[in-house]
């Protein structure tokens, strides 16, 4: 795997990272801005999300319609999202349209217009998205699980609260934008087919005079209760389980990641085999690593008919506890095969690389090449994973359920 990562830090603090993938016809970009919903004042939850929505509704000399039409003329597949830590904008397009697309986004990031007549429609969009989550039990459950596992604001969701959204004013939104859409802490990741010197000069011309500010610090609150049941009229009960693990930048991260891969990577994984294949308890069951900059967790999900929910919870918890006894060589071999092909498949996608390199920089302060990841994975052994598991067995579970009836937690001695 030959791969090079180019990078340049501008005087404003903006970092440009780029990975050439010259066999592709496309290019992709990801902007990560330090404007996440963790900054939302408690009374105004939803501020970052509505701000993001409003940035799409006019910037520079384009109104909202001209903005969308320009992106479509350039053939940009675009998206944006707000996490606790960032607001991100990304797009993929034919490589010849990369630079004109960055022009459009420079306007959005620096010269959003926030027209008065767009405030209500933007608020309504976010209110309806918030309401839509009430109809998606699986999604709702995972949001509640994060809220119960992390101290606020790290478990937040960006859509905020109905009360917060209804109170927001355009003035607050303008202030949030002026303060947090700024170069200090902003990362631009680009991947695909491009000329590095031309790209660097272009980004410099667009952003050189962008004024940086101090970034805002966030103080986390206390830990929420670790058990909750949310009554919901439905056929199925949704089950969420979380436990502490490691952040992506921890030296032992890949040991923890390897153990989760054995639990839930591929159809031969333990959770899929024990919960779905052998017992037919549910259609969907999985566990994933979830990382913040200073902490990480394993988040686990299962959804099943209410009559079989207790058994599903019992079996799933038993598997989480059992993993502490160790993983087997054959399980590790399969995990390595999976990750090897995943790494090669990533090289076929400019959008997945542009966001990976940007996120790496945030979490690690540098980028891990696919080669380096490959070596880290090769370096895993059953002994190393099992030593980690022996010292850090899954425990102190946060358990949230959503459905007609609460469940009991049966945790044997592990």
């Amino acid at each position: 795997m030959k791969q090079s990562i180019l990078s340049h830090t501008f005087a404003s603090g903006l970092v440009l990272l780029a990975e050439p993938m010259m066999s592709l016809e496309s290019a992709a970009f990801t902007f990560l801005l330090p404007a996440g919903c963790a900054l939302d004042p408690l009374d105004y939850a939803g501020l970052a999300e509505v701000t993001c929505e409003l940035t799409l509704r006019g910037s520079g000399n384009r109104d909202s319609r001209q903005f969308i039409e320009e992106l479509e003329r350039l053939g940009v597949e675009h998206g944006q999202s707000v996490s606790t830590t960032h607001t991100s904008y990304s797009g993929a397009m034919l490589s010849r349209n990369l630079l004109p697309t960055l022009d459009v986004y420079a306007d959005l990031l620096r010269r959003a217009r926030f027209p008065k007549d767009q405030m209500e429609p933007a608020r309504q969009v976010v209110l309806q998205e918030l309401a839509a989550i009430e109809d998606e039990p699986g999604q709702k459950l995972m949001q509640e699980l994060r809220k119960h596992h992390y101290p606020d604001p790290w478990g937040r969701t960006s859509h905020g609260t109905e009360a917060g959204l209804k109170k927001l004013s355009l003035t607050q939104i303008r202030e949030h934008y002026a303060r947090n859409y700024q170069p200090n802490g902003t990362i631009l990741g680009v991947a695909g087919n491009f000329d590095w010197e031309v790209l660097k000069a272009h980004v410099s011309a667009l952003f050189d005079d962008w004024k940086p500010h101090e970034s805002q610090s966030i103080v986390a609150g206390g830990l929420p209760p670790r058990r909750a049941h949310i009554p919901h009229e439905s056929n199925q009960t949704q089950i969420g389980i979380a436990f502490d693990s490691l952040a992506y930048n921890h030296p032992d991260y890949f040991q923890a990641w390897g153990a989760v891969g054995v639990l839930s990577g591929g159809m031969s994984s333990r959770l899929f085999t024990e919960v779905r294949e052998k017992r037919g308890l549910c259609y969907s069951v999985h566990a994933t690593m979830h990382s913040l900059r200073d902490r990480g967790s394993v988040l686990c999900y299962a959804g099943t008919s209410s009559a079989r929910a207790q058994e599903t919870l019992d079996v799933t918890l038993a598997e989480l506890v059992r993993i502490a006894k160790g993983v087997r060589p054959d399980e590790l071999t399969r995990l390595k095969a999976r990750i090897k092909s995943s790494l090669i498949m990533q090289q076929e996608s400019s959008i997945s690389r542009s966001s990976s390199i940007a996120r790496d920089l945030y979490y690690l302060d540098r980028v891990r090449t696919l080669d380096e990841i490959s070596q880290l994975v090769d370096g895993l052994s059953c002994e190393s994973i099992n030593n980690y598991l022996a010292a850090n067995p899954p425990r102190e579970f946060t358990i949230v359920t959503l459905g007609p009836m609460p469940l009991e937690v049966h945790l044997g001695v592990s």
């Binding site: 496309s26 969308i68 992106l71 053939g75 209110l127 779905r276 959804g303 076929e348």
Partner: protein, 412 residues
């Protein structure tokens, strides 16, 4: 890029778009069978059978199947639609032979009684999961209402009752009837060793016995009706509208896709500007689906229930206006540029090309390059789109609304 094709004596066809530049290989068995080939007594069997394929063969247990795919690091899955069942995997090129061997073995399953009983529970869980999620299986209900007694009225999932009542013998019979080699194409894209592919298929699938596996493809009936369904526990109101459209062998299908992009793409379309941008709906979109002998325009809208009636009127007016006045040159150009970019981006990965190459082959026995598709779309004019609307007016639709809104009426 080279297209290769070969047919075995028993009728199994093997096609590939071979790209030596690719890093990976995508492979799929495309089976021409789905919900439309079912009867009332075996409703849901195609999809249930797709699950059962992973449950083992005379020489492999279910654990063996899952383990061997994971040994290769394969990204693999399967899906069932109204007219196809597709089993696919993306692998590193060195695993091409192993992946073909495994899929080919999997496609001659044991269908053991005890596995059937366990997997039945998983299928029922899947149906219950969708019953809890919007639009609460309303797409199945709208399909049944729109197509009446036509084979395309069948639900892919079936119902909890039809699955619970299904005997294993009915599945075995369905398998014998539908999984004939002449009804199956083995498709490869990306870095494919075509000669190796043919050799493997010959050795493993050459003995599969052909049977007659036809399908009736009558034209879709005309339909227009309105069905409000009250659902108190839902937060938003969900609206589906199905209307007839050009089918899989109709040259107008290209114009239909571009028309759907202009009117109902997720972003920058007429529905987007009228409803989503205004904050009147959480989602509003229009898509085109083509089947053998029939096609569908499908409108989907989710909104605050108090806005549902007014939004229904807005959609009806928007459709009436486009029927009267057509679309603009700027809209047509914008849709073409958007589709062009999407097609190129999707085709960069072998996995993206697989469904395109496989779909064209199984529907029409034709191979089309990315360029062929782009040029075909580029030639379309506003009149081509208007011709589609003249043949298939969007106002002639089956509407199903589900949610807490009360007293909803057909617009107009």
């Amino acid at each position: 890029m080279e297209f290769r094709e070969h047919t075995l004596a028993n009728g199994l066809s093997i096609v590939a778009e071979c790209n030596d530049e690719a890093h990976t290989t995508a492979l799929g068995f495309f089976v021409q069978t789905g919900a439309r080939d079912e009867t009332e007594s075996d409703a849901g069997v195609s999809h249930f059978l797709e699950h059962m394929m992973f449950k083992g063969t005379p020489t492999r247990t279910a654990e063996d199947v899952n383990r061997e795919f994971d040994d290769m690091g394969a990204h693999y899955n399967a899906f069932t639609s109204e007219e196809h069942t597709v089993y696919y995997a993306a692998v590193l090129p060195e695993f091409q032979r192993a992946a073909v061997e495994l899929w080919a073995d999997v496609l001659r399953p044991s269908l053991r009684d005890e596995d059937f009983t366990t997997e039945k529970q998983v299928i029922i869980e899947e149906i219950k999961m969708y019953e809890d999620q919007p639009p609460y299986l309303a797409d199945d209900k709208c399909r049944a209402l729109h197509y009446g007694g036509h084979p395309l009225s069948h639900s892919v999932l079936g119902t909890v009752e039809s699955i619970a009542a299904l005997p294993v013998e009915a599945m075995r019979k369905y398998f014998e009837r539908r999984y004939s080699p002449g009804n199956i194409a083995l498709v490869g894209t990306g870095r494919v060793d075509f000669d190796g592919l043919v050799t493997a298929a010959e050795q493993i699938c050459g003995a599969w016995k052909p049977v007659e596996a036809g399908r009736s493809a009558p034209p879709a009936p005309r339909a227009k009706s309105f069905h409000p369904v009250y659902k108190e526990t839902s937060t938003l109101e969900y609206v589906l509208q199905f209307s007839n459209a050009p089918g899989a062998t109709d040259e107008d299908r290209y114009a239909a896709k571009v028309l759907a992009t202009v009117l109902g793409d997720d972003s920058g379309s007429r529905l987007y500007w009228a409803l989503v941008d205004e904050g009147l709906a959480e989602q509003a979109s229009l898509g085109h689906q083509d089947y053998q002998g029939a096609g569908l325009f499908m409108t989907y809208m989710a909104c605050d229930p108090v806005l549902a009636q007014a939004n229904l009127e807005r959609i009806a007016e928007l459709f009436a206006q486009v029927q009267r006045e057509g679309i603009t040159d700027a809209e047509l150009a914008q849709a073409k540029s958007k589709i062009n970019s999407r097609v190129v981006l999707a085709s960069e990965r072998p996995r993206g090309r697989l469904f395109n190459v496989g779909g064209n082959w199984i529907q029409r026995r034709e191979y089309r390059t990315v360029r062929d598709d782009l040029e075909r779309i580029d030639r379309l004019t506003r009149n081509d789109l208007m011709d589609v609307l003249a043949r298939y007016p969007l106002s002639e639709n089956t509407t199903l609304a589900i949610g807490p809104a009360q007293n909803l009426k057909a617009p107009g």
